[in-house]
Every structure is written in structure tokens, then in C-alpha cells.
Amino acid sequence: MSGVNKRVLPGFGLSLGFTLVYLSLIVLIPLSAVFIKTSTMSWQEFWDVVTAPRVVASYKLTFGASFLAALINAVFGLLLAWGLTRYTFPGRKIVDALIDLPFALPTAVAGIALTAIYAKNGWVGSLLEPLGIKIAFGPPGVLVALTFIGLPFVVRTVQPVLEDLETEYEEAAASLGATRWQAFQHVVFPALFPALLTGFALAFARAVGEYGSVVFIAGNIPMVSEITPLIIITKLEQFDYKGATAIAAVMLVISFVLLLVINGLQAWTARRTGRAV
């Protein structure tokens, strides 16, 4: 009804103005400090900091463990989403509500709880100890923590798509003689795939920056189980602001790229399913 030039509703200037000022003060200007500070370094200085062996080892661990954790969550998240939307079973509503626990539980609490469970005298750790499997205070601990915090993402992106999926497609597949597995493989899975990939990317992005739950269980051994965010903290504690900022700049650029990828994936999901995620 009202075009760009004919605004009936009041408050455009005020609301947009406040939004932009608040966004700039809290987010944009402080974030720009990372790049401005980094730009005071010479290229060689920057490169030496961000490619130091200990830092490179931390990238490998952070990205490797994040990727694996997201992959585990993609598999089990799909199973959980399927179970929660397709089957009735006692306690389903409670399980469904508790899936979001990693969003609600402070990461430090998750960190010490997971450490207590997976340490060698813990509930799970003591079972694995005789088998020679050590989880806490090493890279597997990092994987466990990142799996925990990423758990809800795939479930929550796949679930709505599964719920909205009309039964007709599977009915058609069945009437054409497809087995359930064939119907899943050729009909249901392609419809789910964009959402599954979005959930995977969200879990991965979250895991890359995670700090609180990991530091307790990782053991934080340099070159072995030290994640990149911890290196930033260590450098800050040594008052090496330049070094911390350079690594933060690398992390920020990666976060921005992931954000763009995720926005693209969500647009794809929305086009595929006709539904905003």
C-alpha cells in the first residue's frame, strides 16, 4: 500500500538510527579494531605469527575436531530428528525439549561435567581405560566437547523439514514398488540434504570458535591438544596483544566465510523446501 516515499507508519528514522548506532558501537567498531590493529603489523610479522608451528598445530586440531564433531552430529542428529518426527515413543516430548540443552547449559558447566565423565576415574572414562582408550586430557576430549555443543544444530535444522514433508512423495514411491530404503534414499534424503548440510555447517562454525567447554577437558598440551581460541588467550595473558590480534583476525575471516556459506546454504534450503529455516 505505502511505497518508499509515502510512509504511513512512524518511527523509521528513530528505529533505524538507533539500530545502526547500537550495532556500530557494540559490534562493528570493536570488531574493526582487530583489523586496524593487525594492519599495524608488517606482512612478514603477521605471517610469522599466524604460521608458527604451535599455531598451525592448533588450527589442525580445531578444524579437524570441529569437522569430525559436525560429521558425528550429522549422522546421529539425522537419526534423532527422524526418530523424534516419525515415531511415537514414551518420553519423546522430554527428549525433544532436552535436545537444546547445549544451547542453554553454560559452556563451563558442560566442560567440567564432560571432564568428570570422561576422565579415567569417570563413569565412561573408567570403562574405556582398560581398553587403552583415553578421552579426557587429549585430542579425543576436544572432539567430545565439540560434539556436545554441536548436537542440537543438525536435529533442529532437519526436524522442521521432516515434519513438513508431505506423505504423498513416499506414497508415490511405495506404489511404484520402492522399498522403504529406496524411498528414503531417492525421495526423502534429497529433500533433507540442504537442511542436513546447513546443520552440519552451523555445528562446524560453532565448534571452531568454542572455548569454554573445551579448555577443561582438552588438557591443553602445546602442539597436541591446544585449540586456537586458547592460543589467543595465552598470548593475551603474556601481553602479546599483536600476536593475539593477528590470530583473531585469521579466526574472524574464517568466521565471515562460514557465515556467507551458511547464508547460502539456508537460501538453498528455503528454495528446496519452500520454507524459511
Binding site: 518426527t85 537444546d100 556436545f148
Partner: protein, 298 residues
């Protein structure tokens, strides 16, 4: 939108529909295998840590548990956590409403870019979120010398903790309101204005009732994160006991001092907060969609 997958959304219960239809019903062994695998994963990775918090908290008895909670440093941490949430949640609430109003009710260039920028804090590592305020307000930061001259402390003090908390909870309320208000359009508000209501009356009587559940949902999630934030706050806090320690930081200090029962006692309060958050969240989801369901029935 990146960062958090939980969004305020209608969630019809479809399981019985799928199970009643032979074309979408799976063989019993498939059903029990999937439920079994899914629930085992759920139990090991989610339920076990939650139970562990409470078991460890009471390991040395109820007396130790209560002592850990009423100890002065713990009380100071609880107060600071409440303060940080009491400042950051209302500010982000005002921001969320204002951003959603501008984005949903008006046309302007760069809108999608603005929405992406609002989501940005979700994709930034908490550690980097803390670092940026050190770069701006720290001793060697942009305003460091000026702040020191005027004897104002931001970093390693309460203002820094509040700023870091605002940053990490920045998008929560806006991202709930923007899609909802965009979907609702502006017809009702335009009708209200053309019938002579003021802008404030229109917002209070027309917009607010339409968005109240999404608003509440955003506030609940925002509050949970504000009280539980660890990484960002850890960078700017300086860990001064009784002064700049929030509850999650207090948990860390106790844990590193091998006072495990006390650490888990304070952690159990945060775990309770998480459970209350999930209960409220589920209630709001259920409540928000009940009126729609009723309309469909009648």
C-alpha cells in the same frame, strides 16, 4: 542466519500421522534400531553430563553443597551474573524491537546486509568477542590512556563484563522478532494509525500483542546466554575474586583449585538455570501456537 539453530517456530506433532500411514511407516526393527541408536547417543552426550553435574555437586554431602553457595565469593559471583544479565537483556531487547521495527515495517536499501550484520556476533568466537573490547578499552587500547587519565576502568572491571555479555547476546531477540514481524507485514499497524492512534499506542496495542511470545522466547534465550557466558567474559574479567567473577568464572576458579564439589555446586545452579530455560522455552512454544490450533479446530 548463523549461530543458533533454535528458532521460534510452529512445531506440529507429525509422528502419529507418519506412523498411521503404511507408506511412511517403517518396519518395527528399523524403528527400534533408530530410536535405540538416537537415544543412546542422546543419553551419553546430553543426559550423562547433566546428571553428572548434580551427582558431583552432592558428592561431599548437602552441607558442603550449601556452604559453597553461601560463601561470600560465590554470592558476589551470583550478584555480578545477575547484574550483567539485568543490563544486557533490556538493552538488547530495546535494540531487538527497534531493529525489527525498522526492518519489518519499512523498505530500504541494504536490508539483507543489515540482517547479516546483526547476526555477526553469533559467528564470532567468544574469545575474539572479549579481545575486541580489550583492543578498544584496554591499557594499550584506543581509549586506554584517556580512561586511565580519568580513572575509569572498563577492562578487568564490571563495565567490560557487561559489554562482552551484550556482544555475545546481541542478536538473540532481534533474530526472533525480525522474521515474525516481516511475516506479519504492516497492514494492522497502518490501519491503527489511519484510525487515529499514535505511534506508541499502535506499538503497545497492535504490535506488541502480536509479537509477545516471540519476544519472551528471545528474552529467555538471551538471558540464559547472558548468565552462562564464559569465554568472552573470561578475557575481560581479570578474575578478581569477589569483584569481577561471574558464576561461570567462579566455577572455573574453584575447579582449578581442585575444589570439585564446590565447583559443581555452583555449576548445578547454572544447570538448573538451563533446565528452567528449557522448560520456559517449551512452554512458550506450546502457548504461542495454541490459539492457532484452536482456530483450526473451531
Amino acid at each position: 542466519m548463523a549461530g543458533v539453530a533454535a528458532t521460534f517456530d510452529a512445531r506440529p506433532d507429525t509422528a502419529s500421522k507418519f506412523e498411521a500411514n503404511p507408506a511412511t511407516r517403517d518396519a518395527p526393527w528399523v524403528k527400534y534400531l533408530i530410536i535405540g541408536l538416537g537415544l543412546s547417543y542422546f543419553a551419553i552426550f546430553l543426559l550423562l553430563p547433566l546428571i553428572a553435574v548434580f551427582v558431583e555437586a552432592f558428592r561431599k554431602g548437602v552441607g558442603t553443597y550449601l556452604d559453597a553457595l553461601v560463601e561470600p565469593d560465590a554470592l558476589a559471583a551470583i550478584r555480578l551474573t545477575l547484574l550483567a544479565a539485568a543490563i544486557s537483556v533490556p538493552l538488547n531487547l530495546i535494540f531487538g524491537i527497534s531493529a525489527a521495527w525498522a526492518i519489518a515495517k519499512f523498505q530500504f536499501r541494504g536490508k539483507n546486509f543489515l540482517i547479516t550484520l546483526i547476526d555477526l556476533p553469533f559467528s564470532v568466537s567468544p574469545v575474539v568477542a572479549g579481545l575486541i573490547y580489550v583492543l578498544v578499552f584496554g591499557m594499550q587500547g584506543w581509549f586506554g590512556p584517556w580512561l586511565r587519565e580519568h580513572d575509569i576502568k572498563v577492562i578487568f572491571a564490571v563495565p567490560g563484563i557487561v559489554l562482552a555479555t551484550i556482544f555475545v547476546t546481541f542478536p538473540f531477540i532481534a533474530r526472533e522478532l525480525i522474521p515474525l514481524m516481516q511475516a506479519q507485514g504492516r497492514d494492522e499497524e497502518e490501519a491503527s494509525i489511519s484510525l487515529g492512534a499514535s505511534g506508541f499506542q499502535t506499538f503497545w496495542r497492535v504490535t506488541l500483542p502480536n509479537i509477545k511470545w516471540a519476544l519472551l522466547y528471545g528474552v529467555i534465550l538471551c538471558n540464559a546466554r547472558a548468565m552462562g557466558e564464559f569465554g568472552a567474559v573470561s578475557v575481560v574479567s581479570g578474575h578478581i575474586r569477589g569483584e569481577t567473577n561471574t558464576m561461570p568464572l567462579h566455577v572455573e576458579i574453584l575447579y582449578n583449585e581442585y575444589q570439585f564439589a564446590a565447583a559443581f555446586a555452583v555449576a548445578s545452579l547454572l544447570a538448573l538455570l538451563a533446565l528452567v530455560t528449557l522448560i520456559l522455552k517449551t512452554y512458550v512454544e506450546w502457548r504461542a501456537h495454541r490459539p492457532i490450533a484452536r482456530e483450526e479446530v473451531s
